[in-house]
């Protein structure tokens, strides 16, 4: 006995992270851990590899771009959690931004214009939701169709011409700053954080959040207790449309111009960010913090590759490889757990 007690301190000193062992399983279980490690590696590599990456203006740019991407990715992530997919998010971003800009041009008030933009997103989401949940159509096909539809409407509204000269109050929505203890925090980042909190609250604290997770894995169990799972899906598609629309409005406000060709091919980045963030394509899994971290990782990668001066095809190749690696890591992690 004496031997055992005397050898214990030595064991402690040899294994300084022993206290972590009971929590290790939970830590490894979280996709966020992998993302934080990857973020640190990317930041370190790009900080050493480029002169401008760690500059405050570049970091602010990444944050601002990540904000509307992140807001749209949250919506796309919700749809993925219920076992669906929403390819129309990028088109909705462009449509909502353009509708909002057009409304402002014809003299509609700021609030009403934003409301109109959000309504467009909600309508596309509703259309997707109805077709998927009530008619049982495959979400991939439905949202592929609505993606084209929304993009077509966007192009038709101005015959392809961008809308400029937006009112300063509207531009302030994307270009303004919120002063937090002497640090200027761009409005889009504040909006993203606020929306992330709201979505996180809905997902983790409310009955709806529980249903969203459960629809993805045990839809039949919900049906048998009388929960209209079709409505749960409908709500998530609508939320996805509204969040994408809000992201599009923020993007338009920041850029100061509503282009019908805006956000083209963003849908892949947005969905990839959600999946990298831990939203399982099989449904039932994902978290708000993971999706935000996934978005930031995507933005850092895109920005870093541009700063490194890599040709476009290499940028695509790297992003594609990164998505595959993260998904493989996620697969490995799930198997380990």
């Amino acid at each position: 006995m004496q031997k055992a007690t005397s050898s214990q301190p030595i064991r402690h000193s040899l294994r300084p992270f022993q206290w972590l062992q009971p929590h290790w399983g939970k830590l490894v279980q979280r996709q966020e851990l992998i993302l934080i490690v990857l973020l640190l590696i990317c930041t370190l590599a790009l900080g050493l590899g480029t002169d401008t990456f760690l500059s405050s203006s570049n970091l602010l740019n990444i944050g601002v771009y990540a904000s509307w991407f992140g807001i749209a990715a949250l919506g796309a992530g919700l749809v993925i959690m219920v076992g669906g997919i929403d390819l129309s998010v990028a088109s909705v971003m462009a449509l909502a931004g353009l509708v909002c800009a057009l409304a402002l041009q014809v003299g509609v008030s700021l609030i009403a214009a934003i409301g109109l933009g959000l309504l467009c997103g909600a309508c596309v989401g509703l259309l997707n939701g109805v077709l998927v949940s009530q008619f049982g159509l495959p979400p991939f096909i439905v949202t592929l169709g609505s993606m084209g539809l929304a993009r077509g409407i966007t192009l038709a509204l101005t015959s392809g011409a961008p809308v400029r000269d937006l009112p300063p109050q509207f531009r302030a929505l994307g270009q303004g700053e919120f002063n937090l203890a002497g640090i200027g925090l761009a409005f889009p980042i504040c909006w993203m954080l606020l929306i992330a909190c709201v979505v996180s609250f809905i997902l983790h604290q409310t009955v709806l959040g529980r249903y969203i997770y459960t629809v993805g894995t045990d839809e039949r169990a919900l049906k048998i207790v009388g929960v209209p799972t079709g409505y749960v899906k409908l709500i998530t598609y609508c939320l996805s449309g509204i969040l994408a629309a809000f992201g599009g409005i923020l993007m338009t406000a920041k850029l100061g111009v509503a282009a019908p060709t805006a956000a083209i091919a963003y849908e892949l980045d947005i969905i990839a960010a959600a999946v990298i963030g831990g939203a399982s394509l099989f449904g039932g899994e994902g978290s708000v913090s993971g999706i935000i971290l996934g978005t930031i990782l995507m933005m850092i990668a895109r920005n870093g590759l541009v700063l490194l001066g890599l040709p476009t095809y290499l940028q695509w190749l790297t992003i594609g490889a990164m998505i595959l690696v993260v998904i493989l890591l996620d697969f490995w992690r799930r198997r380990q757990v």
């Binding site: 409310t206 009955v207 529980r210 894995t217 045990d218 039949r220 169990a221 207790v225």
Partner: protein, 538 residues
């Protein structure tokens, strides 16, 4: 009274294969209707249609007078369904599964944006499960970690929590043990008393006859009988199940059915008994372990007491030897010298006395005094061998054995190891006492004519003392305790001395007659050469 459930011509086809054909029956409030049929008779298909999961190919269903359109949510029409295979949300815990779709929370009118109140839900879930006699150590366990019986209990708890006007129970007893089956039957009676309409699908005739008012029998998708339980016997139900009234065919099936369920119940009871037995065994094991621990403690205490006793005895022996030594010295140096002095005085007086008779008397007294002195010297020798301190163990033994032989008339053969060196005083005295005690035994009990004493080194650190006689030996069944009871303490004294010296005692009857006492004693290291032992004859 309006029927709670009314089926009109319900039919279901899978492709061209008919699963159900024109099912017609109804259930009123407070009525329990049993549904039975052999495997493949369409029971589960009917239950699925009535639960709103499957749409019939033909026919209508009315719940509380309202015509139903498929798919419909059973819960929303106040129907509770307990399925054969409970359908639970695998990643949600027990409480959440019980309350799924009916979460208690704040604000109560916020519907899906309600924040569930975990504490209240846990409390109510515990109460509901307690009604079933089920106890879960952790209500946070995920459903995918539960056994099939536990899953069924969660499913029943869900039905119990939300009283419904129609309860559809589809073969739930398959997953339940005997005790829970009986509890479910009690629950069915309770729901019936509360006015619920119950459809109880089962193949267990005992269960059906125990709780049902009517039994609907399905065969090959058709409803072939709708019987009042009070008016029919098991034979009629089985006849409807198999489609014949031939007793030769019905009897074996009834027998098989009853045997099967009896066997299942007995298996359950046996399982419970086994479980109890295992629990008892565990309890016994625990008790035995406690007893062993107590015993070990007591043995340890006894060891300590024994050790203390040995130390006390060792001290006692040492002190006794010291006392003997001082007494012997006192006698020798004082009493004997005084007596010798008196003897000289008497001798002088004798020389001066003229009277013949007085001189003779004085000579007798002097002779007596000399005898007394001799006796005292012998006593001194017994108390403390005079030679042991000055010359050592060997000469002391030699002197004693000669003296003993002379007194007892028994021949003594003493073999001493030629390398017998001086040993510690206590050890030498103990060996002397052992030999002394051994010889006393021979004189008192052995009726021997010859004794052989041998002292030799087994090893540089041990000495073997053997005392062998040619007497009558010991009774075959002797033991030290019985000898002590008879007042013979000689061998016991030897054994105690040997034990104190951490040696070994061996006593045995010799095949040639007589007794052999062997004592092996450890002692400090001495040098031994391989020289022959010296031999003395007394």
């Amino acid at each position: 009274m309006e029927a709670v459930l009314r089926c009109i011509n319900l039919s279901k086809y899978f492709g061209t294969l008919p699963a159900l054909r024109q099912i017609d029956f109804q259930i009123k409030a407070g009525e329990v209707v049993g549904l039975t049929g052999r495997s493949g008779s369409g029971k589960t298909a009917l239950v699925n249609i009535l639960s709103g999961i499957e749409q019939p190919s033909e026919g209508d269903l009315y719940i509380a007078g309202q015509r139903m359109h498929w798919p419909f949510s059973a819960r929303r029409h106040n129907i509770s369904v307990i399925n054969q295979q409970p359908i639970l949300a695998e990643r949600l815990d027990i409480t959440t599964n019980i309350f799924l779709g009916n979460e208690i929370g704040w604000p109560s009118n916020a519907s899906w944006l309600r924040i569930p109140n975990r504490r209240r839900m846990d409390q109510q879930a515990t109460e509901v499960l307690a009604q079933l006699g089920a106890h879960f150590s952790d209500l946070r366990q995920q459903a995918n970690n539960l056994s099939s019986e536990e899953r069924q209990l969660v499913s029943i708890a869900r039905a119990l929590l939300h009283p419904a006007k129609l309860i559809i129970i589809d073969e739930p007893t398959q997953q339940l043990s005997y005790t829970y089956q009986q509890r479910l039957l009690t629950l069915i009676r309770l729901w019936q008393q509360q006015g619920a309409a119950i459809l109880f699908s089962s193949n267990n005739l005992d269960h059906l006859f125990a709780v049902c008012d009517r039994i609907v029998v399905l065969r090959q998708g058709r409803s072939v009988a709708d019987m009042q339980v009070d008016a029919v016997g098991r034979e009629e139900v089985v006849a409807a199940l198999v489609g014949t009234k031939d007793r030769e065919q019905i009897t074996p099936i009834m027998w098989a059915l009853e045997s099967y369920y009896r066997a299942r119940e007995q298996t359950e009871q046996l399982g419970q008994r086994q479980e109890m037995l295992e629990q008892n065994l565990v309890a016994h094991d625990s008790l035995t372990n406690q007893l062993i621990e107590q015993l070990a403690i007591q043995i340890s205490a006894l060891d300590s007491a024994n050790l203390a006793l040995q130390n006390a005895q060792r001290r006692l022996l040492t002190e006794r030897e010291q006392e003997r030594k001082s007494l012997a010295r006192e006698l020798h140096d004082q009493v004997i010298q005084d007596m010798l002095g008196v003897n000289y005085q008497l001798e002088e007086i004798e020389a001066e006395v003229d009277q013949q008779n007085v001189a003779e008397n004085l000579a007798d007294v002097r002779h007596s005094i000399r005898g007394l002195v001799e006796d005292l010297r012998r006593i001194c020798g017994n108390l403390r061998p005079p030679t042991i301190d000055s010359l050592g163990l060997g000469p002391a033994l030699l002197s004693y054995s000669r003296d003993w032989s002379a007194r007892s008339g028994i021949q003594v053969e003493l073999n001493l190891d030629s390398q017998l060196a001086r040993l510690p005083e206590a050890l030498e005295l103990s060996i002397f006492r052992i030999v002394q005690e051994g010889l006393n035994n021979v004189r008192k009990h052995a009726h021997a004519s010859k004794v052989r004493i041998e002292l030799r080194h087994n090893s540089p650190r041990s000495l073997m003392i053997s005392i062998a006689d040619n007497g009558r030996g010991m009774p075959n069944d002797f033991d030290l305790a019985s000898l002590a009871n008879k007042g013979h303490y000689g061998l016991l004294g030897i054994s105690e001395r040997v034990a104190l010296l951490e040696g070994r005692l061996h006593v045995q009857n010799l095949s040639s007659g007589g007794l052999l006492i062997q004592v092996e004693l450890p002692h400090p290291r001495v040098n031994i050469d391989s020289e022959p032992t010296s031999q003395q004859q007394a």
